[in-house]
Symmetry: C2
Subunit: 142 residues, 2 copies
């Protein structure tokens, strides 16, 4: 099992398809942005993947941004193939993102998770994340 | 009262000081990143300010990022001078950010707010934001 950072030139059509299929396990209804587009000329996205043999079994990504209150990362779109869960893949992906965040001198990493996703929440807590006393609000534009 | 988008070359030492002072009303303990640094060569930050005569009375900023699930904006560091509240300045700043977000074809805008900040939350709700059924988790690195 190999965890690595996805490079834009590694994304061919077949790989895009693998990512797209895996992502559907997280959310089958969402309009996905194509990986090539979001990685191209984008130094603000760290895209971690996990492969076993030739199969994509997990991914997680962190977008970085700067505001007055800090240089932050927000982790989104964390998904592990349902046939490969409970093997520590999510943890390995998260650890890789955290290590990239430390290397990049982020001051804070944020993420949000549905209250019902207990295994994910336990993983995040075990990595040092704490629940903020804040509500998360969203406005959909598309 | 004028709401506008702050341009990097408008940030001189005096203006940096104004921003820094105003920001302290939101959080006096946080290590602030200098505006010049976060705006420079950064197409992913939209920094709205409100001035009355020569006084900076409010600001709000939105960082944009792309992940598989969308092209998103996250609004942070919204603050209105305590002597200028209840005048609609927060709303004007937010409306400007939302309008920039629509122009930039964001698919979603996120923000978080302490559960106790009722006037802010009411403002966000009145602009169409809805509370997500998710917890927000944070890991401080510095």
């Amino acid at each position: 099992m190999i965890v690595e950072i996805l490079q834009p030139d590694a994304v061919n059509k077949a790989f895009q398809k693998k990512i797209s299929e895996l992502y559907k396990q997280l959310n089958a209804n969402i309009q996905q942005l194509p990986i090539k587009n979001i990685l191209q000329d984008n130094e603000n996205l760290i895209f971690a993947i996990c492969q076993e043999d030739d199969k994509l079994v997990g991914m997680a990504m962190m977008a970085t941004y700067q505001v007055i209150s800090g240089y932050k990362g927000i982790i989104e779109d964390v998904v592990v193939d349902e046939n490969y869960r409970r093997k520590g893949i999510g943890r390995k992906l998260m650890e890789r993102l955290l290590s990239e965040g430390k290397k990049g001198q982020l001051t804070e990493i944020l993420l949000f998770s549905g209250h019902h996703r207990l295994p994910a929440i336990n993983l995040y807590k075990s990595l040092g994340f704490v629940l903020k006393d804040s509500g998360l609000y969203t406005l959909k534009l598309a």
